[in-house]
């Protein structure tokens, strides 16, 4: 295929969203119709709704502000790339803030009824038989946020303009659920709600060659229901204990063992210097272990290190 073909197009008006299947290798494109509108986003495995998008793993692997080239991951224990952001004309996205909710607007501002992402997402997925409890933490496209010196989150004026867009390639069959964020009393969308255009496009061979991840699991710990001890989805709301239950922990007991490490006088001096610097532990054994594992993380760990030795 030499050009992308539009297979679905829809303009989401303010106060609405849309659940739309995006199949493996297809591209979801969300485009600004006006100037500066945040899109909240949920996603599910189209063939198993219990696999859904996970902010936490995405944040862990790609940092606080994912952008072009980063992936959206499904929740543990599935933990597969659901989408890759293959194009992002602005590069300001957020995965810290939770979706806004009816409670938030009532508690903070006294609104009995107000547009909110949770309810819009819930109404969008109702088309597929899902419930408000199936809405999950959202990826917030274009939401322009920061972290202040005290570690507090804050929202800045949104930068996207008419025609700006994001494009995501699906790595397996998904139900994608973008919505027009309902926050008009924060600077999330510059105090005005605007439409967003949603398209699903068939990708080109070049697109897939560049971006598409393998369909099969790459790690044995990217689990499926076949790996679960309980394979069926629970159908009752009440929680009652299973009388026949006995714990079967994956790794237990954790057994400690001593390892003797011989230090020269020079090594012993290094231990004292690390102790003087601080942040490596109390005992000699703690300090040697902390330094060793810090070295190992730096040289052997795959992905973002997220480790500052001595802090």
């Amino acid at each position: 295929m030499s050009a992308r073909e539009v297979v679905f197009e829809h303009v989401m008006e303010p106060g609405t969203g849309k659940a739309v299947p995006v199949l493996r290798g297809q591209i979801l494109r969300i485009e600004q119709v006006g100037n500066g509108q945040c899109a909240d986003f949920n996603a599910f495995n189209l063939h198993d709704y219990k696999e859904y998008f996970h902010c936490g793993r995405t944040r862990h692997l790609h940092g606080l502000f994912p952008a072009e080239g980063d992936m959206l991951w499904s929740a543990p224990p599935r933990e597969r790339p659901m989408f890759t952001i293959i194009s992002d004309s602005v590069g300001t996205n957020d995965i810290q803030y939770p979706r806004c909710t009816g409670f938030l607007y009532e508690y903070q501002f006294g609104f009995e009824q107000h547009t909110n992402c949770h309810d819009i997402l819930a109404e969008s997925i109702r088309e597929y038989g899902l419930t408000p409890d199936d809405v999950h933490d959202s990826f917030n496209f274009w939401m322009h946020t920061g972290v202040d010196d005290e570690g507090k989150l804050y929202i800045k004026r949104l930068l996207a303009r008419q025609g700006d867009y994001v494009e995501l390639m699906a790595h397996f069959d998904t139900l994608a659920v973008p919505n027009v964020c309902g926050a008009d009393i924060f600077s999330t969308s510059n105090f005005e709600l605007k439409p967003l255009k949603v398209q699903v496009l068939d990708s080109t061979t070049d697109d897939r060659d560049q971006w598409l991840q393998p369909e099969e699991r790459q790690f044995r710990n990217q689990r499926t229901p076949d790996d679960f001890k309980v394979k069926d989805i629970k159908v009752t709301r009440e929680l009652v204990p299973d009388e026949s239950y006995t714990p079967d922990w994956p790794v237990y007991p954790i057994v400690k063992q001593p390892v003797e490490v011989t230090l020269s006088d020079e090594d012993a001096e290094l231990v004292e210097q690390l102790r003087a610097k601080g942040g490596f532990g109390e005992s000699d054994g703690d300090i040697v272990r902390h330094a060793f594992f810090s070295w190992w993380i730096e040289h052997y760990m795959r992905g973002p290190k997220q480790h500052h030795a001595g802090e």
Partner: protein, 76 residues
């Protein structure tokens, strides 16, 4: 009597005049990782040697994380 037997245990540290042996506690998962490093080669043939190699390399690679030496620290 081995060299280790001849050393004097003091808390988690076994001391002698020329060298001392620290005891590093690890669990079975960490031991498995050390086994992989031993199999790769180049860091030592025992858990203790591998930990020592990594510790020494870390210190060489991070002189910025080393505090003042003993006498200097005492004066500070």
């Amino acid at each position: 009597m081995t060299q280790t037997d001849a050393l004097v245990r003091s808390g988690s540290t076994i001391e002698s005049m020329a060298e001392r042996t620290v005891v590093v506690e690890i669990n079975q998962q960490q031991a498995e990782m050390l086994d992989r490093l031993i199999a790769e080669g180049g860091l030592g043939s025992t858990h203790g040697e591998v930990i020592h190699s990594g510790f020494a390399r870390f210190c060489r690679e991070h002189p910025d994380l080393l505090g003042p030496a003993g006498d200097e620290a005492a004066r500070a």
